[in-house]
């Protein structure tokens, strides 16, 4: 049993839960290291998110198409093969080309410190390395999903 709740002005009184955060997990390069992806997929699901996994070796085009078709809030990219600067950029370029700004993009993998600002500049945030606590990643996705939702609801 949950007691009544005070609401801020304009907040919905609906008893149904908000639509869960929808995340697409993708490794958009030639990289089969998927242990971390499977862990994240389960952890995100346990955190109440709606999780999609792009499968093995999707191209940047595949990733952007799926993200748009499924209308996700966040695309979470991971690479452990050192190609993040080239390949993550391709995903961002495609999104820009197609005028998509209501989907947030986050990154992770074996990303050296000196590459992080370069990715941030492209609009890819997070860029977490191995050993990052799941809570940090989940909080970051939640934050970036809220941004995306705001943009989706702007009309």
């Amino acid at each position: 049993m949950q007691g009544g709740k005070y609401l801020a002005d304009g907040k919905s009184q609906s008893l149904f839960r908000d639509k869960p955060i929808k995340v697409l997990l993708a490794k958009p390069g030639i990289d089969g290291h998927d242990r971390g992806m499977f862990v994240l997929a389960r952890a995100f699901r346990d955190a109440g998110m709606d999780v999609l996994y792009a499968g093995l070796l999707p191209t940047p085009e595949d990733v952007v198409n799926t993200a748009v078709n499924e209308d996700v809030d966040v695309v979470a990219l991971s690479l452990l093969n050192g190609a993040h600067l080239t390949v993550f950029k391709k995903v961002m370029d495609l999104m820009k080309e197609r005028g998509i700004d209501d989907i947030s993009v986050v990154g992770g993998g074996t990303i050296p410190d000196h590459d992080r600002p370069k990715l941030e500049k492209m609009g890819i945030t997070g860029n977490y390395g191995p050993g990052t606590p799941l809570k940090v990643i989940i909080d970051h996705i939640t934050e970036r999903a809220a941004e995306a939702r705001q943009k989706k609801n702007r009309i």
Partner: protein, 570 residues
Amino acid sequence: MQSRDYYSRKLNELKSRHSGNPDRERWRRETLAPWNQKTGYGGKEYRNSSEIPIHEIYTPGDLPPDYDKKELGLPGEYPFTRGIYPNMYRGKLWTMRMFSGFGTPEDTNRRLKYLISHGESGLSIAFDMPTLYGYDCDNPRADGEIGRCGVNISSLKDMETLFRGIDLSKISTSMTINAPAAVLTAMYVAIAKKQKVPLDSISGTVQADILKEYIAQKEWMYPPEAHIRIIRDMMTYCSVNLPKWNYISISGYHIREAGSSAAQELAFTLADGFYYIDLGMKAGLPVEKFAPRLSFFFNSSIDFFEEIAKMRAARRIWATVLKEKYDVNDPRSLLMRFHTQTSGYTLTWQQPINNIIRTTIEAMAGVLGGTQSLHTNSYDEAWALPSEEAVKIALRTQQIIAEESGIPATIDPLGGSYYVEWLTNQMEEKAYEYFDRIEKMGGMLEAIKKGYIQKEIAATSYRRQMRIESGEEVMVGANKYQDSSEKPIGILKISKKAQDAQIARLKKVKITRDKAKVDAILGRLEDAMRDPEENLMPHYLEAVEAYCTLEEISNAGRKVFGGWKEPVIV
């Protein structure tokens, strides 16, 4: 003699030999409990990665009375628990084989020569991701990936450069390549022919263990049946032409890195091994011809005794099943030879120098487990491919164990430890439980195609991650003893120039070769692929020698065999 229900009968036999230990029960009651009460110790449960609960103490009561004679034996004697050779490291140290490859073939050629000059005794080549998946360096999908995770090989020209100045008759080479393993074997043969080294004297290994690709590493090009047919062709071809070539390295390493427990690594790797035994037999090869050419590759992780027990159990299971289930009597066919690599996933990104210590412990476990060759990871490998300085320390780690520690002087020095023997038995039992379950599912290939093996591993991996998150499992520097004053380490950077150089070389190859000949050969290769009775190896050799590229050769198969989508497990 392929006996039905062998695994479930064997499991029952093992279980009947392992019972409780009354000595420990008495000691717990009379000595331990009062002590704990007096000191206020509430007790703590220890479990290893295989979910085996670890007792406080082990005694002779943990082993059956005839254990020494029946399960343990002596080195070089069945069932080989104590080692496959009578004199083990007294006769010959393990081969120090450092997995290396990055950038262009020139870069890697320099690294190989550097390692040889520092006392490395065997080569081990790492390829980049496009090569592992059979894509050339000029494929748009490969942009940004050339030379990043290993050396790039797009045609025989690259392979010639890679081995320039290295005499193939003097050194053995291990190549970590799976989906295109037959093509890389053909390239190695072509280089040997150019160097005028007789083919029956070249020695080395290709990984070519495609089953574990579908389980863990996920590097395939075609459906499983097509790759299995190519492996069969390699087995048949090599048993005649390359008698010293190890054409499959049955690998648990990747299964473990994908998050399995030690017991799962043991069980799934051996189940793969038995599948290849069945494959060779079905191809009509005499077992004493091909079984001695199968080698294994294990992970050595951080739980010291669990790893040692795993390796000892692996040797014993392999010999026992081949003898009892497959009726193999040729002594050489019963020997499990294996390579060991220290664990990648235990290395931390944080405080990376600590990784030297982890690698040392893991390398010692490999040696005490009786490995035939060893790769030690470099401390910077959570970050990138190793720098020259880091790889030298990793090699020195092995040299210190070999030449200073005194460990190699005694064969299986932990043999007879009540704990290690008990744990070896426990690991063995866990493996037979899986063999039985897999057999009932219709065999290993079926279990993989259904996603059963992958799901088992993912579940273990998730459980471990939860334990790390909660702090129950400690990773020093990562989830305990963090240090915010850490300074970044220098790491190896791969320049994008490697990609440009590779593309330029490939362009030149394509201009200078005989295009009509290339087309004709690729056409014949496709025809051969359509005929399951045809052996593909001579066709691969013809193709690489005419400078058909890796991707052109791989695409012939993509056309004929199609691709494969993995079962959904998330």
